[in-house]
């Protein structure tokens, strides 16, 4: 418990630092939201900026923002005049989370067995094939797979709808398949390679030899003994990986017209939409901090060798 408490506190501190740095960097970008090809008269510009308190001294803006943020109010968006940042996150996050969740699930479902098979057939046919595929998976930018899928499966073959994110349950899965698939390539490849190298490392350990000497069936040795240990590092990277998928889904969301949060992040910076920039940065910082905390705790539970600092002796 004390461990969690300390972690939460340091997490909060991290978020505060990120908030402040973002605020400073944001304010230093040339131009602001209202900078446009068509200039407004000076008086009008002042009035419009006054409405959003943009003329207040920076320190006041900063403190006001922190105050509101801690009450959970992230303020208005400039770009979407009728929507608050909270609303944008509320509507966008579940979509990105679903897409990311499915992609991550696929990545694990494919990556872990691939890594195991690869390790078992080390340097033979299957291994070479899987290693080749995973190298491609790691090096390709996500939009290549996305565009290829969208074009060949969607346009040429007409099997799946090209884009959109229909919310009626019946058709929904059709719209999830391609984006999730495209998004899962890199994680799957990464996980496969990670599992492979860990399996090979674990296979050399004494307890594996013991298990085999005991005459246990191969499958049991592999899954029950080797895999359980080899997969621990996967758990470790799960936290940052989940966060990366959520933030990195920008391109996929744009190509498949998925109304998630990824695109919002970049657009808001280009637009200088201060409220959205700050809100999303804080939100993602919070997610990353939480993911890391959860993963660390799980790791402590999963691996009896690890003792979380401050927790009682098991």
């Amino acid at each position: 418990m004390r461990y969690i408490g300390r972690r939460l506190l340091s997490g909060l501190f991290t978020i505060w630092i990120i908030m402040t740095l973002t605020f400073i960097m944001m304010q230093n970008l040339p131009g602001d939201f209202f900078t446009n090809e068509k200039r407004l008269p000076e008086a009008v510009m002042l009035n419009i900026r006054a409405r959003y308190h943009l003329n207040d001294p920076l320190l006041k803006q900063y403190l006001d923002y922190i105050g509101n943020a801690f009450q959970g109010n992230f303020g208005p968006s400039f770009r979407y005049a009728t929507r608050s940042v909270n609303e944008i996150i509320d509507s966008g996050f579940p979509v990105s989370a679903e897409l990311g969740g499915v992609a991550l699930g696929l990545a694990l479902l494919v990556g872990i067995p691939a890594g195991v098979i690869s390790a078992l057939h080390r340097n033979r046919g299957m291994d070479n094939l899987i290693t080749f595929a995973s190298t491609i998976g790691i090096s390709q930018p996500s939009f290549i797979v996305a565009t290829l899928l969208s074009y060949y499966v969607g346009v040429k073959l007409g099997w799946l709808p090209v884009a959109q994110w229909e919310s009626s349950r019946w058709e929904h899965w059709q719209h999830v398949v391609m984006p999730a698939l495209a998004l899962s390539f890199f994680p799957a490849a990464y996980i496969a390679r990670l599992v492979r190298s860990n399996m090979l490392e674990v296979a050399g350990h004494d307890f594996i030899r013991t298990a085999r000497a005991k005459g246990l069936p191969r499958l049991t040795v592999v899954v029950k003994h080797a895999l359980r240990n080899a997969v621990l590092p996967v758990l470790t990277i799960l936290g940052p990986m989940a966060a990366a998928i959520l933030t990195g889904s920008l391109v996929i969301e744009k190509i498949f017209y998925v109304p998630g949060l990824g695109g919002e992040f970049v657009t808001s910076i280009l637009n200088r939409d201060y409220g959205v920039i700050m809100g999303l940065t804080i939100f993602y910082a919070f997610l990353i901090v939480s993911f890391n905390l959860v993963v660390d705790i799980l790791y402590g539970i999963a691996d009896p060798r690890i003792k979380l600092a401050g927790s009682k002796e098991r």
Binding site: G31, L40, P41, A50, G92, L108
Partner: protein
């Protein structure tokens, strides 16, 4: 049981994903028409709306929806200016006053009556500084409009600190009383202008001058965010708006011209990625899309799928006339004359655009309304290589020798890049100017640099706000807010001022033609081509009109 990290991790992730998916709001029904006989048109607006409040929207995407949802005093259609909410109007006092007679029995989409005082309320609201309308300047043509909009929200106290203006409400009320718009009775609206403005009539079709329901606005600050609170007066009404996904509009039975509206439902998609929109169009998931990806234009033209419409805008380059060597008109003209615009349009743009041989784009009337201003004005610049070389030599840089190195700034975009590269190559080949650095920067950064004069050559594009040459011409008066080239010429200023004093079209047009001649003689800006609208539309969709301002009109749309 938690000792299997694999199962654990999987469980966490899948649970998370499922929870997120399950907690998503179930939206009711399906957007596309399910009834067999319902006529539905699906249009890709290209982005989510900034706002559906007529006073707050600034983007073409919002305009495209607003034009279907609302109606101003007039409407601009394939018939030109046609009566909208106003059945007839009369010009008085040499163009300083307008008297509009509204139709009898006008209603809001909730059935309540719409009267002249709704227009007074709406225009006052758009000009009210508390509303924060960025397009309020479209109402400055009305007497007292600018004064109302300029009432300060914040004032500097004696201690130099900014604080809220304590007299705000009174000052606004005072200014509103002086505003030149009055409701004489329920169907008569009298408008007094600040100066004669021949294009004022067309201007009333612009979204900022559309009426809004006082009831809606006062009931809820976010009235324009939800269909339940949305009240409008146009051919369609708002039925659904899903953020970043789509909006659905249905025929408005209370619209005076509902009998003319053939379409039952309009669906606006918000796909930003051009290639995705194209894929959707080719798989029949959408009926109309704008701006197909430039790389596909050649193929789409060949397959006869691409359609174009005029657009009242010009793509041009800016010279910072305060820095050497661009302070010398000979240099600027030489650079302009050495460019082959037709080649650029044919080989790089490939979208059927027209080279710009002057600044004001085609699409606005001249003194004789049946003639286009641009046709009457003719070509004001020429492409003449020997002349260009001569001018450059006269300026002191024969064959480009000694021409100082400079930077050419444009905003990040494949087309801008290709164009800039082509132009720089032409300068190199034709004039011997070798030392140009191309720099692509983010849009806001480019704008910032332009505003501050922190550039040498930059890229720009100007779209007219209304269909009259003045929207282009008055940019370059001395110290004009949009005069990023810092151009200053007394004769030019005088001509523009004279054109603004009179409603006499003959005089106005003559002055503007002369002013444009001066502008192109000195070439502080380098016109390249005139924009057009490129779109793909299924053959079974008819009656959709696009005006040169880019606003799409669905009132008379029909499905074959």
């Amino acid at each position: 049981m938690f000792r299997k990290p694999l199962a654990l991790a999987l469980a966490v992730v899948v649970t998370f994903g499922l929870l997120a998916g399950c907690s998503k709001k179930e939206t009711q029904g399906e957007s596309t028409g399910s009834a067999a006989k319902e006529k539905v048109v699906r249009y890709n607006a290209g982005a989510d709306f900034r706002s559906l409040d007529p006073a707050l929207m600034t983007d073409l995407t919002s305009f495209s929806a607003e034009n279907a949802l609302f109606e101003g005093l007039v409407r601009i259609t394939h018939n030109g200016i046609e009566p909208g909410a106003a059945a007839k109007w009369e010009e008085q006092d040499g163009g300083l006053k307008y008297r509009f007679t509204l139709r009898q029995g006008l209603k809001w989409s909730n059935g309540e009556p719409l009267t002249a005082s709704d227009f007074v309320y709406s225009w006052t609201r758009a000009l009210d500084p508390r509303t924060g309308s960025e397009y309020a300047y479209q109402l400055y043509y009305i007497k007292g409009g600018e004064a109302l909009n300029s009432v300060k929200l914040m004032i500097k106290g004696l201690d130099g600190k900014e604080s809220e203006n304590p007299n705000l409400a009174t000052e606004i009320a005072e200014a509103a009383k002086n505003l030149g718009v009055k409701a004489i009775d329920a169907t008569t609206l009298e408008v007094t202008l600040a100066a004669p403005t021949p294009y004022f009539l067309g201007l009333t079709a612009f979204p900022t001058l559309h009426p809004v329901s006082q009831k809606a606005v006062e009931s809820n600050e976010q009235w324009a965010a939800k269909p339940e609170s949305y009240i409008s007066n146009g051919p369609f009404k708002l039925v659904k708006w899903e953020a970043k996904t789509q909006a659905v509009l249905e025929r408005n039975p209370h619209y005076w011209g509902a009998a003319d509206v053939k379409i039952d439902q309009l669906v606006y998609f918000m796909v930003e990625e051009q290639s995705t929109a194209l894929n959707m169009w080719e798989t029949d998931a959408v009926d109309i899309i704008d701006s197909p990806p430039p790389a596909e234009l050649a193929r789409l033209r060949q397959e006869k799928k691409l359609q174009v419409a005029p657009s009242y805008g010009t793509y041009y380059y800016l010279f910072n006339t305060t820095v050497k060597p661009f302070d010398n008109p000979k240099v600027r003209k030489a650079l302009s004359m050495a460019i082959d615009r037709q080649k650029i349009v044919d080989n790089i743009l490939r979208g059927g655009q027209k080279p710009a041989m002057a600044f004001v784009a085609p699409g606005s009337p001249d003194a004789d309304p049946s003639k286009d201003y641009r046709t009457v004005g003719g070509n004001l610049l020429k492409e003449d290589l020997p002349e260009a070389k001569r001018l450059l030599a006269e300026a002191g840089y024969p064959d480009g020798k000694g021409f100082p190195a400079f930077t050419f700034v444009y905003n990040t975009n494949e087309t801008h890049k290709a164009l800039a590269e082509a132009v720089v190559e032409m300068w190199k080949q034709n004039l011997g100017i070798l030392s140009v650095t191309l720099q692509n920067l983010e849009w806001k950064v480019v704008l910032d640099k332009r505003q501050k004069g922190d550039y040498q050559v930059a890229r720009g594009g100007w779209y007219g706000d209304y269909l009259d040459a003045m929207t282009f011409m008055d940019m370059y008066v001395t110290d004009g807010g949009n005069n990023d080239v810092f151009y200053s010429n007394k004769s030019f200023d005088d001509l523009i001022a004279a054109a603004k004093q009179t409603a006499e079209q003959k005089v106005r047009m003559e002055k503007m033609h002369q002013a444009e001649q001066i502008l192109l003689d000195e070439m502080p800006i380098l016109p390249i081509y005139h924009y057009n609208q490129q779109y793909l539309q299924k053959e079974y969709v008819q009656g959709v009109f696009r005006n040169a301002l880019g606003i799409i009109e669905f009132k008379y749309a029909d499905l074959k």
